[in-house]
Amino acid sequence: MAELTRDEVLVKISRKESLARADLSGLDLSGCDLAGADFRRAELDGTNLENARLLRADLTNASLREAFLAGADLTEARLEKADLEGANLKRAVLDGANLDRATLEGATLSEARLRGARLTGAQLDSADLGGANLESAVMSHAELIESYLGGANLSSAQLSNADLSSANLEEANFSGAVLDDAELSKARAPGAIFHNASMTRATLSGAQFVRANLVGADLRHARLESTEFAGAMLTGARLFGVSAAGVRLNEISAEWIDAGPDGGQKRVPGNDIMALLEGRLQPSATRYFGEGDVLRNAALEFGAGSSVEIDSRFENCTITLGDGTDLVIGHCGVLKDCQINGTGNVTVHGLFFERESPGIVGPRQFVVSSQGAVVGTVEQASQNTVFAFEPGCRLRMRIVRSRSQS
């Protein structure tokens, strides 16, 4: 039972006295102004704090089991290692609050606001976070097993190494969130949004991502065994190095996916996604022309989807690239008096000098890195070439339209 009455608590607060270690369990403190109060290690089990003001209050290590905090304002409050098991924080405001290593098992946080809150290592197993706003929250290493995050906003949240296994993520928004190394096995995420989310090395085995939006998501090295992606959107998703045995991809929407390991893109057309994920489409081996070699007066043609890297010196050569072929002129590569044709992706780390204009015709993508140099004319692809230039590159270059456009 509480050792103080409500009025006594308010008197102490008004005198700025500490309530650390006080036993206030079961007390009715609803609507009270407790901003900045010191409740460290206090006993607040079952306490009614409905609509209380607890801005910047210190509840570190406090016990708030089954406390009622609906609508309470805990902005920037300190709740590290607090025990909030079974507590009701419906519609509470916890923006910027610190709940590192707090226990929120079975707690109700539906429609709560936790923007920018810290929940590193927090225990949220079976918690109800339906409709909560966790934008930019830091939840790395948090445990959210079997939790409910339906309709929650976790855009730009940090969830690396978090455990969301068997969690219900229906229609949640994880846009731009970081879920690297996160555990999502058997999670259910129908209609969830993972647009541009980073999920490298995440485990999604047995999870359901039906109708999920994974456009631009980075799933490199993720585990996708038996993951259900029916109706999902995967355009631009990065899938290098995934293990995807038993993955289900019926009716997915994907114009292309990125099968590149890092840096520039390696686009794989939609038709080949299934084959790639199911392991039937092997990324083509890179043809490599090593440093010190010289090739003169040659015409080389590389098939669609292949990968070529040149660290040699090519003189007076013509290189024809198939659709989607990656041509990398390495740091040691020099192409002098050469010509490159075709709808491939050209990356220049070395040197390129054209033989005659235009020296590069129709690339889908043209990138010159900080070490690269180009002297010549680039005739764009019919649908405009994607250009990128890193600071430090050297150019004496003309860009002209595709002849089909002129």
């Binding site: 040691c332 040197l351 004319t377 230039f389 590159c393 050297r394 150019l395 003309r398 860009i399």
Partner: protein, 147 residues
């Protein structure tokens, strides 16, 4: 786009300036400028456009550029119209997915960025350890490479 801090000259959206504009402050263009510009910094927003001869320290653009630009550094997004010449020590164009706001659409453009490359890789590597030259030192595009 990282806008300038401190004093700046703003040509707001809906404003069309035609003439010669010289400023010791950076110029932010949300509208349109046609003419000669001399400024330490030129920031063109997605609604802005600049046409003319520009002498500038830093250019950041998400809008439209057309004409002749001599700059120290250039960061581009948006659109580069036909018959545009860009001379700079440093150029940055980020790789962007199709349709994103960072994508650059080039018209008929000449780029003269950094030192003149030579095919002597070793000499270049040695030279790169020194400071790069000024944009005004950049020679014109070699003949026979007209577009």
């Amino acid at each position: 786009m990282d806008g300038p801090k401190g004093k700046q000259t703003v040509v707001e959206e809906g404003t069309h300036f035609r003439g010669s504009l010289t400023s010791t402050c950076p110029i932010v263009v949300n509208g349109r400028i046609e003419g000669d510009i001399d400024t330490p910094g030129l920031f063109v927003s997605s609604t802005g456009s600049v046409k003319g001869r520009v002498k500038v320290g830093e250019v950041q653009s998400q809008g439209e550029l057309e004409g002749e630009f001599d700059a120290e550094s250039v960061r581009l997004a948006g659109r580069i119209k036909d018959k545009t010449v860009l001379r700079a020590k440093v150029l940055e164009v980020q790789l962007a997915t199709e349709g994103s706001k960072m994508q650059v659409i080039f018209g008929e453009t000449e780029l003269a960025i950094g030192e003149t490359p030579t095919d002597d890789l070793e000499a270049q590597r040695a030279k790169r350890s020194k400071k790069p030259g000024r944009p005004s030192d950049a020679p014109p595009i070699p003949e026979g490479t007209g577009g």
